[in-house]
Amino acid sequence: MRGDIRDINSGKNAGTPENGVPRRLAAIVAGDISGYSRLMQLDEEGTHARVRRLERDLIEPTIREHHGRLIKTTGDGFIAIFDSPVEAVRCGIVIQQNMIGRNTALSKAQWIEYRIGINLGDVIIDTDDVFGDGVNVAARLEGLADPGEVFISGGIYEQIKHKIVCGYESLGDRKVKNITDPVRVYRVLPDPSAFKRRRVQKRGVVIVSLSLIVLVLAGGVLWYLTMQTRSRLPRVAFKSTPSEQAASSSHAAKSSALTSTAANSTTPTTPSAPVNETAAQQSAKVPDTSPTAAPTVAAVPPAATPVPQAAPPPPMEPEMVPLPGGSFTMGSNEDPSERPVHEVTVKRFAIGKYPVSIREWNQCAAAKACPFTASGPDDAPAGNLSWSDAKQFTAWLAGTTGKAYRLPTEAEWEYAARAGTRTRYWWGDQLMPDVASCKNCTQVASNDPPSKVGAFKPNPFGLHDMGGTVDQWVEDCFHKNYQGAPNDGSAWRDDGCTSHVLRSGSWRNDARYVRPSNRDGYDTQVRYPTHGFRVALTL
C-alpha cells in the first residue's frame, strides 16, 4: 500500500514547534548608501524622498524579480535574502548598473551610490528581521566595498563562478570586525573584460563619459523633436481609458524602474500613457544585458511618444458560466490535505466554461502583457504557466475589458467542480472510462497533451475539464490542510507566500487527482507543462 504524504513544507515558511528555531541557508544581500549623512546634510527632504523612491522603484522590484525577499530597509540601506546565490548576485549587479544610469544625469555631489555585500550563510529568520553571523559578514563586506561596487564572500564565489559571466577580482582574505575567521573577498566586475580594463580605467572613463555625453545629447535632440510633435498633437492623446490605465498599472512594478527614471530627469511625465508601458516593458525585459543603457535612453523617449494608436481590437473573452451562490461541503477524508471537511458559502460568480486556451493566452502575449507566446493547437489548454503567469493574464483581461476578471478562489473552484454533487467524482463514486482526461482514465491509453479543451462531457453546471486535462491555479496560498481556512468562499492569502494551490489534476495524473476535492501546492514562480488555469469573474 502506498502511503500518502501528510505535510510538505518547502522550508520557506519554516518554523514548526518541534523543530525549534527556523534556520536556513540563504544568500544575504546587504546594501547601503555611501555618504548618506553628507547627502542628508545637503538636502534632507529631497534625499529622503529620492531614497524612498529608489527603494520603491528599483530595490524592491529588482529583489522580487530575482525571487528574493526584502527583509528590511534601514534609513540608508536594506537587507534581502535569496535562495539562490546566482540570483542574489544578479540582483546586486542589476541594482548597481541601474544606479549608474540614474546618476549620470546628476552632478557628482548628488549621486546616490550603493555599496553591496553578499554572503552565503546559515541564518535565523524572524518575521521582520534576519539574524546570524552570515548577516554580519554580509554587512562587513558591504562596508569594505567601494561605492557602486558589489563585494561577495568566498562562499558565494564558489557557487556562482561558473554560472554568471562576470569578472571576479580576488581581494584575498580579509579580517572583519567581530568575526573570528578571516573572510575571502571578491570584487564583482559586471563584465569579464572589465578585469583588464581596470588597469586602463582612466582612459575607459573618458571614453564612457564621452559616449554618455553623445547619447545624452542625442537623446536630448530626440526629446526636443518629439516634444515638438507632442505639442502638435491633440490633448486627447494623453487620455487613456480606465481600463487601459488598469492594464498599465498591472505592469507598473516591472516597468516602474524605467519610467521613474524618466520622471527623474525630465518633466513630470504621463506614466499612464499605454504606449509608454510597452516600451518600458520591452526594455525591462532585458535588464541583464542593458541595465546601464536602458535608463539613460529610456529617460527620453517614453515621455515623448503618446502618439494616438489605433485601439487594438477587444480581446475574445473566455466563455463564462454564471453560477448562483450557495453553500456546499468542501474537502474530503480521502487525503490529509483535504481535511477537515467543512461547510463553505460562496457568493454568485461566473467561471470559465473551459480552461484558458492557447488562443486566449496568446492574445495576451501578443499584447505584450503576458511573458511568452505558447505553441500548440489554438484550442488546446494553455500550459507551462506559473501562478504569476496566470495572474498576469487575468490582470490583462480585466484591464482591457474593464470587467472584474480574476482567478477563482479555491472554494469557488471546488464549488464549481462539485456542481451540487457530493460524490467522489461529479459523475458518481466510481471511475468511468472516457469522462475525463487523466492517466489510465481513457479506453485508448495516451500520454499526449490534450489537443483541445472541452473534449469530455461537462459537469452538471455545464463546465468542462473540472478535473483532469490541465492542473488549474487558483488564487489561494497553499496550506497543508483546511485548519483555519475561511468559510465565506474568499481566497486564503498570506503575505509573501511562496506556493499556491493547484486544482483539477492533469492528463498525466491518475484518477485520484480528478476528484473535485483533490488539491496540491506548487511554487508560485515555477512553470510546469501540465499547469494551466481558468478565469473567474465577480458578478
Binding site: 502511503g3 500518502d4 504524504i5 501528510r6 505535510d7 510538505i8 513544507n9 518547502s10 522550508g11 520557506k12 519554516a14 514548526t16 536556513r24 525571487h67 535562495d83 539562490s84 540570483e87 544578479r90 548598473q97 557557487q159 561558473h162 554560472k163 554568471i164 559571466v165 559586471p190 563584465d191 573584460s193 572589465a194 564612457v208 547619447l215 518629439t226 510633435t229 510597452t278 516600451a279 520591452q282 526594455s283 541583464d288 544585458t289 542593458s290 541595465p291 546601464t292 543603457a293 536602458a294 539613460t296 535612453v297 529610456a298 527620453v300 523617449p301 511618444t305 498525466r508 495524473n509 487527482y513 506548487y522 511554487d523 514562480q525 515555477v526 512553470r527 510546469y528 501540465t530 499547469h531
Partner: protein
C-alpha cells in the same frame, strides 16, 4: 515612433558595455550532466528510523542548484520521489504529483511528514524544463521507517 525608440534602445545596448548574463534559450530533452555529479541525502540516511515529521536535506556535488526555468550550465533543481517504483522516463518531464515533489525554487531541504511505516525516498535532479539530465543525476533510493 515606436520603431525609432526601439532602434535607439538597440543602439544604446550596442554602445554601452553591459553584463552578458545567460538567458534561457531553446530547450532540448535532457541537458548533459557531468559524469562526476553526485546526488545524495544529507539526511536522513538509509535505514533511519524517524519519529514524526522531519527535515529532508538534499546534497549535490559537482553541479549547482538553481531555479526551474533557469538554464545555467551544469545546474538543476531537486525532485524528491516518495514510494515511487515506476522507472523514470528520460524523455518526459519528471511527473508532478503527491509522490513526485518539486523544488523548483532552488530549495535544498524540505519538511516531510509521512504516515507511519516504511517509505522509500529518492532524489532526481531536473533541468530547467524538469527533464532528467543525461545521464540522469539520481540518488540512491533509501528506505526510512516512520514510527
Amino acid at each position: 515612433m515606436t520603431m525609432t525608440r526601439r532602434k535607439v534602445l538597440q543602439a544604446a545596448v550596442l554602445l554601452l558595455p553591459g553584463p552578458a548574463i545567460a538567458t534561457r534559450t531553446a530547450f532540448a530533452k535532457g541537458k548533459p550532466a557531468p559524469k562526476d555529479a553526485v546526488l545524495y541525502f544529507v539526511w536522513p540516511q538509509d535505514g533511519t528510523v524517524i519519529k514524526g515529521a522531519f527535515w529532508c536535506r538534499f546534497g549535490l556535488r559537482n553541479m549547482g542548484v538553481t531555479h526551474a526555468g533557469d538554464d545555467f550550465h551544469n545546474s538543476g533543481h531537486h525532485h524528491l520521489l516518495i514510494d515511487v517504483n515506476e522507472p523514470l522516463n528520460p524523455d518526459e518531464p519528471i511527473p508532478q504529483d503527491k509522490s513526485h515533489l518539486h523544488f523548483g525554487a532552488g530549495q535544498t531541504e524540505a519538511r516531510i511528514e509521512l504516515p507511519p511505516g516504511k517509505h522509500t525516498l529518492q532524489l532526481v535532479l531536473g533541468d530547467a524544463d524538469h527533464f532528467p539530465f543525461v545521464p540522469p543525476v539520481i540518488s540512491k533510493k533509501i528506505t526510512v521507517r516512520i514510527r
